[in-house]
C-alpha cells in the first residue's frame, strides 16, 4: 500500500512542472490564439540557464535566486521573440503560427548544443530539500514534496492574478473576444506581449525547477511539448484549471501506467485522451471555439484541371526525370529516388491540407507505419517484395482509419495537436516494443529483390509510383469526393445543409492520405534497407509540413514542387553544415514571414495578375442598367 501512495506522490510531483508549462501555453493561446510550439524550447532554455546560474552562485540564495532569474531571463527572450516574430504573424492562418514556432524550436535546439554542448548536464540538489522522507519504509525525495505543494500554490497565484488585477481582467476579456477588447481602446500590442512573457516565464520556471530531478539535455523540448499537448487537449485549451487537473491526471497515468504496461505505458494516457475527446471534444474544461472572424483579403486562385498543354509539359518533365540514369551516377539516383518518395509523402499531406483544410502535425506516423509494415512482412513473413509493397501501406491505412475517427472530431489547432500526439504514440510504441520492432536498433536488411535492386531500376520504380500517386490525387481533387471535401472545409454549415456528412468525408480523406503516405514509407524502407523509429518522428512530420508550405498550401499540386526543392536543399544542407537544424529553422521562419503563399502559389498569383481581367458578363451590365 505504501508503495502505491509513494507512486501517487511521485506522479503529483511530476505534475507540477507539467502544469506550469501547460498553463503557460493555455494562457498564451487564450489571448493570442497562437499555439506556441516553441513552449517546449522555452522550458528547455529555462533548465539550461538555471543550470548555469545555479552552478555560478552557491548557497540557498544562489540556487533559488538562480531559478527565478533564469525564468525571468527566458521570459525576456520570449518578449523579444514576440516583438520580432509573432507580431508579424498574428493574423496568419494557425498552421503558419505553429510552423513558425516550430522553426524557432529547431533553432533553439542547435543553439543550446552550441552553447552548452551535446552531453547531459546534472544539476545541483535544491538546498534544504536534499534528503528524503521515510514513508512506511519507502523513500520520498523531500524535493518532490516541495513540488507537490508548489503546483496548487501557483494555481492559486494565477487565479488571484486573473481575478483580482486589472491586467487579469483584460486578459480574461481578450480571451473571450480580443477584437472587442481592442475596440475598447486597450493597447493590444502590449497586452499580447505581456501575456506571452507570463506564459514563457511559467514554461521556463517549469524547466528550471526540474534540474534537481532530471538531467538537462537538448531533447527535453520535444519530450515536454508532446506531454503538454496531451494535457491541454484533455484539460481544454485556454483553461488553467483544466491544465492543472489534466496535468495531475496525465502524470498519475504515467506513474501507474508503468506498473500496468511497463513497456508501453503511454497507451494508457492515449486511451484516456481518446475517452475524453469522445465525451468532451474540447477537453474537460474547454469550450467550443467561436468561429473566428474571417481574415479579410483572402485571395484564392481558382483551381482547375490542367490544360492539354500543361499536361504535355508535365509528361515532358516526367520523361526528363526518367532520363536521369543516363547521366547521373548511383548517388544521384539514390537521391533522386529519395526525392520521388518524398514527393509521394508530401502530396499525401498536401491533399489533406489543401483540399481538406486539415493540417496534420503527425503525418509521419502513416509514412512510418507503411515502412514498418513492409519491414515486418518482409522479415517475419518473408513475403516477396511486390506483395510487401502492396500490403505494407495497409498498416498506414489502418493506423489512419483508427486515429482518423478521433482526429476528424476536431479541427484547427486541436486537430494539429491530436495528430501530433497520435504520431508520438506510434513512435513510442516502435521505440519501446523492442521484441517486435527492434526498438532503437530498428529492423535491418529490408532489401529490394533483384528486379528492383539496381539504383536505376529502383529510381524508375520510385518515380513511376510517385507519378501515379500525383495523378491519382489530382483526379480525386476534381472528383465529386474532392469537391465534397472542399465544401466541408469552406463551409461545414452549408455542407451539412446540402446533405454532406462532413466527418465521414474528412475521415475518408484522412484514410486516403494515410494510405498514400504509407506507400511512400514502404518504398522508403526498401530504399534504405532498414526501418528506424525516426521514420515516425516529429521532425519527419514537420518536413512534410514545410514541403507543403513551400510549394503553396492553396494550390492543387504545390506539394510536388515543395518536396523537390525542400528535399534537394535539405540533402545538400546536411552535407554542408553541422548546424542543419539552425539553418532549417531559420528557413521555416523566413518562408512563413516572407513567402506564405509558397513557390507555386506565388507563380500562380503572378500569372493571374498578367492575365487580362475577364470582361463583365453581358447580363451584369444589363442588370446594372435596369437597376438604374
Amino acid at each position: 500500500m505504501a508503495f502505491y501512495i509513494v507512486q501517487f506522490l511521485t506522479g503529483l510531483a511530476s505534475a507540477a512542472s507539467l502544469f506550469l508549462v501547460a498553463s503557460g501555453l493555455s494562457i498564451i493561446f487564450g489571448v493570442t490564439r497562437i499555439v506556441n510550439f516553441a513552449h517546449g524550447a522555452f522550458y528547455m532554455l529555462g533548465a539550461y540557464v538555471a543550470f548555469t546560474l545555479t552552478e555560478q552562485f552557491s548557497g540557498a540564495i544562489g540556487f533559488w535566486g538562480g531559478i527565478v532569474v533564469a525564468a525571468v531571463i527566458v521570459a525576456l527572450i520570449g518578449v523579444l521573440v514576440e516583438m520580432v516574430l509573432l507580431r508579424r504573424i498574428y493574423h496568419a492562418p494557425e498552421l503558419f503560427q505553429l510552423l513558425a514556432t516550430f522553426g524557432l524550436t529547431l533553432m533553439v535546439e542547435d543553439l543550446v548544443v552550441l552553447i552548452w554542448g551535446p552531453s547531459d548536464l546534472l544539476g545541483r540538489r535544491a538546498p534544504g530539500f536534499r534528503g528524503a522522507v521515510d514513508f512506511f519504509g519507502q523513500n520520498i525525495p523531500s524535493y518532490d514534496l516541495f513540488l507537490i505543494v508548489l503546483g496548487p500554490v501557483v494555481l492559486g497565484i494565477l487565479w488571484l492574478l486573473f481575478q483580482r488585477t486589472r491586467w487579469g481582467v483584460l486578459v480574461r476579456a481578450a480571451t473571450q473576444d480580443r477584437d472587442m477588447v481592442a475596440a475598447l481602446g486597450v493597447n493590444q500590442k502590449w497586452l499580447f506581449t505581456s501575456v506571452f512573457a507570463v506564459g514563457v516565464f511559467l514554461a521556463a520556471l517549469g524547466g528550471a525547477l526540474q534540474i534537481p530531478r532530471d538531467a538537462v539535455n537538448h531533447a527535453l523540448d520535444l519530450q515536454i511539448i508532446v506531454d503538454v499537448f496531451v494535457v491541454v487537449v484533455i484539460g481544454g485549451l485556454g483553461s488553467i484549471v483544466g491544465a492543472f487537473v489534466a496535468a495531475v491526471l496525465v502524470s498519475e497515468l504515467n506513474a501507474f501506467g508503468i506498473l500496468i504496461f511497463p513497456k508501453i505505458s503511454i497507451i494508457l494516457v492515449f486511451l484516456v485522451m481518446a475517452a475524453v475527446l469522445i465525451v468532451r471534444p474540447w477537453g474537460l474544461f474547454g469550450k467550443q471555439e467561436a468561429p473566428a472572424r474571417r481574415t479579410p483579403g483572402l485571395t484564392v486562385n481558382p483551381w482547375r484541371p490542367l490544360t492539354s498543354g500543361e499536361r504535355l509539359a508535365a509528361i515532358a518533365a516526367l520523361a526528363l526525370a526518367a532520363g536521369l540514369p543516363l547521366v547521373g551516377g548511383n548517388y544521384a539516383l539514390t537521391v533522386g529516388s529519395e526525392i520521388a518518395i518524398f514527393v509521394i509523402f508530401a502530396v499525401s499531406l498536401h491533399f489533406l491540407m489543401a483540399v481538406g483544410g486539415l493540417a496534420s502535425f503527425g503525418h509521419a506516423a502513416y509514412f512510418g507505419l507503411g515502412a514498418y509494415g513492409v519491414a515486418l512482412l518482409a522479415k517475419m513473413a518473408g513475403l516477396p517484395m511486390i506483395v510487401c509493397l502492396l500490403l505494407g501501406p495497409l498498416l498506414g491505412c489502418l493506423g489512419a482509419a483508427v486515429f482518423g475517427v478521433f482526429a476528424v472530431q476536431l479541427s484547427g489547432v486541436y486537430f494539429a495537436m491530436l495528430t501530433l500526439a497520435f504520431a508520438q504514440i506510434v513512435w513510442s510504441i516502435a521505440f519501446q516494443w523492442v521484441a517486435v520492432t527492434g526498438g532503437d536498433n530498428g529492423i535491418l536488411g529490408v532489401w529490394p529483390e533483384r528486379w528492383a535492386a539496381s539504383p536505376s531500376h529502383f529510381y524508375w520504380l520510385s518515380i513511376g509510383i510517385a507519378a501515379l500517386a500525383v495523378i491519382a490525387l489530382r483526379i480525386i481533387v476534381f472528383s465529386p469526393f474532392g469537391y465534397a471535401l472542399r465544401a466541408t472545409r469552406d463551409s461545414p454549415l452549408r455542407g451539412e445543409a446540402i446533405g454532406i456528412d462532413g466527418k465521414r468525408i474528412q475521415w475518408t480523406a484522412f484514410v486516403i492520405a494515410g494510405t498514400v503516405a504509407g506507400i511512400a514509407g514502404a518504398l522508403f524502407a526498401y530504399l534504405k534497407g532498414s526501418v528506424f523509429p525516426d521514420s515516425l518522428g516529429i521532425s519527419l512530420s514537420v518536413d512534410a509540413l514545410v514541403m507543403v508550405l513551400l510549394g503553396g498550401v492553396e494550390t492543387v499540386s504545390g506539394g510536388v514542387v515543395g518536396a523537390i526543392v525542400y528535399k534537394a536543399l535539405n540533402i545538400w544542407l546536411v552535407s554542408r553544415t553541422d548546424l542543419s537544424k539552425l539553418v532549417l529553422g531559420a528557413f521555416i521562419v523566413l518562408i512563413v514571414v516572407a513567402f506564405p503563399k509558397g513557390i507555386v502559389g506565388m507563380l500562380e498569383t503572378i500569372r493571374n495578375r498578367r492575365r487580362p481581367k475577364l470582361s463583365k458578363p453581358a447580363s451584369l451590365t444589363s442588370r446594372i442598367e435596369t437597376a438604374e
Binding site: L298, V300, P302, W303, R304, P305, I475, I476, F478, S479, P480, F481, G482, Y483, A484, R486, A487, D490, S491, L493, R494, E496, A497, I498, G499, I500, D501, I505, T508, L614, P617, A618, S619, L620, R623, A627
Partner: protein, 263 residues
C-alpha cells in the same frame, strides 16, 4: 389551395433553456405552394423554432412531421434528403469555388455521388447547374469565383443551391437580411414566383414587414415563445395583440420596466 397536400405539420413544439421557455407549444401546418411567414419581435423564439425545423436544434417535446416523416431531432442533412432546401440568415456558400461549382456540389450530393473518386465535378451536371443559375438570374456569373460576389448575388446563389435537390419545401431564415430595399423585393418576388410555379412550400422568417405583407400567403406571429396570431396578412394586420407588440412595444416595455424597478 385547400386541395394541396400538407408538407409540414408541427404540433406542440417546445424548447426551453434553463428556466426560459424559448418556444412553448407551437403548432401550425404548411401546404404545398403556400408561402408562410414566421414573424415576431427579437427574442420571440423565431430562430429557435426555425432551428428545430431544420435539424440544428432538438426540441424538448412536440412533433414535427415533414413530408410524412417525424423529423424531430434528425440531423440537417437527413432533413435535406427528404426534400427541404434552405437558405441562411448570413449566407453560407463555398467561397473557393466558382458560382457554377457551388451548385454542382449540391447536385453531386443530390445524386448521391459524394464518395465518387473518379468523375469530374466541373463536368458534372453542367446543364442542370446552368439551368438553376438561369432561374435565379445568375447565369452570367457562372464562372466567377463565389468569393467575389456581392451580397445580394450570394443570396441568389443560395437560392439556386437550395433548389438543387428539387425541394418540396424551402426554409429561409431572414432571406432579405442585409440587402438593399430594391434587392429585397426582387429576391422575394423571384422566390414567390418559383414557389408558385413548382408548387413548393416556403417558410420564412423576416423582420422587414413590407416583404412579409407583400409576399406571404399566411403569417404566424410569435411572441415570447407562443403563437399569438395566425392568418392572412389582412387578418394579422387587424389583430390588436399584434398591433400592440409591433406598434406599442415601447409602452409595454415601459410598464414592465417600472414594475421591475418597484419590485
Amino acid at each position: 389551395m385547400n386541395a394541396a397536400p400538407t408538407l409540414l405539420s408541427v404540433e406542440g413544439l417546445t424548447k426551453s433553456y434553463g428556466g426560459i421557455h424559448a418556444v412553448r407549444g407551437v403548432s401550425f401546418a404548411l401546404k404545398a405552394g403556400e408561402i408562410l411567414a414566421l414573424i415576431g419581435p427579437n427574442g420571440a423564439g423565431k430562430s429557435t423554432c426555425f432551428d428545430m425545423l431544420n435539424g440544428q436544434n432538438v426540441p424538448d417535446s412536440g412533433r414535427i412531421v415533414l413530408l410524412g416523416e417525424d423529423t424531430a431531432g434528425e440531423k440537417p442533412r437527413a432533413i435535406w434528403r427528404l426534400g427541404v432546401g434552405r437558405t441562411f440568415q448570413i449566407t453560407a456558400t463555398f467561397p473557393t469555388m466558382t458560382v457554377r461549382e457551388n451548385v454542382q456540389v449540391a447536385l453531386v450530393s443530390f445524386e448521391r455521388q459524394l464518395f465518387n473518386l473518379w468523375g469530374s465535378t466541373p463536368k458534372f451536371e453542367r446543364d442542370e447547374a446552368g439551368r438553376l443559375l438561369e432561374l435565379v438570374g445568375m447565369a452570367g456569373y457562372a464562372e466567377r469565383p463565389c468569393g467575389e460576389l456581392a451580397y445580394g448575388d450570394l443570396k441568389r446563389l443560395e437560392l439556386a443551391i437550395a433548389l438543387a435537390n428539387q425541394p418540396k419545401l424551402l426554409l429561409m431564415d431572414e432571406p432579405t437580411a442585409g440587402m438593399a430595399p430594391r434587392e429585397r423585393i426582387d429576391l422575394m418576388r423571384l422566390t414567390a414566383q418559383i414557389a408558385k410555379e413548382q408548387s413548393i412550400g416556403v417558410l420564412f422568417t423576416e423582420h422587414d414587414m413590407d416583404v412579409v405583407f407583400e409576399h406571404a400567403d399566411r403569417i404566424l406571429v410569435l411572441n415570447r415563445g407562443t403563437l399569438i396570431a395566425e392568418g392572412s396578412p389582412a387578418e394579422v394586420r387587424r389583430n390588436p395583440q399584434v398591433r400592440a407588440i409591433y406598434l406599442g412595444e415601447g409602452l409595454v416595455y415601459d410598464a414592465r420596466h417600472r414594475e421591475g424597478a418597484s419590485a
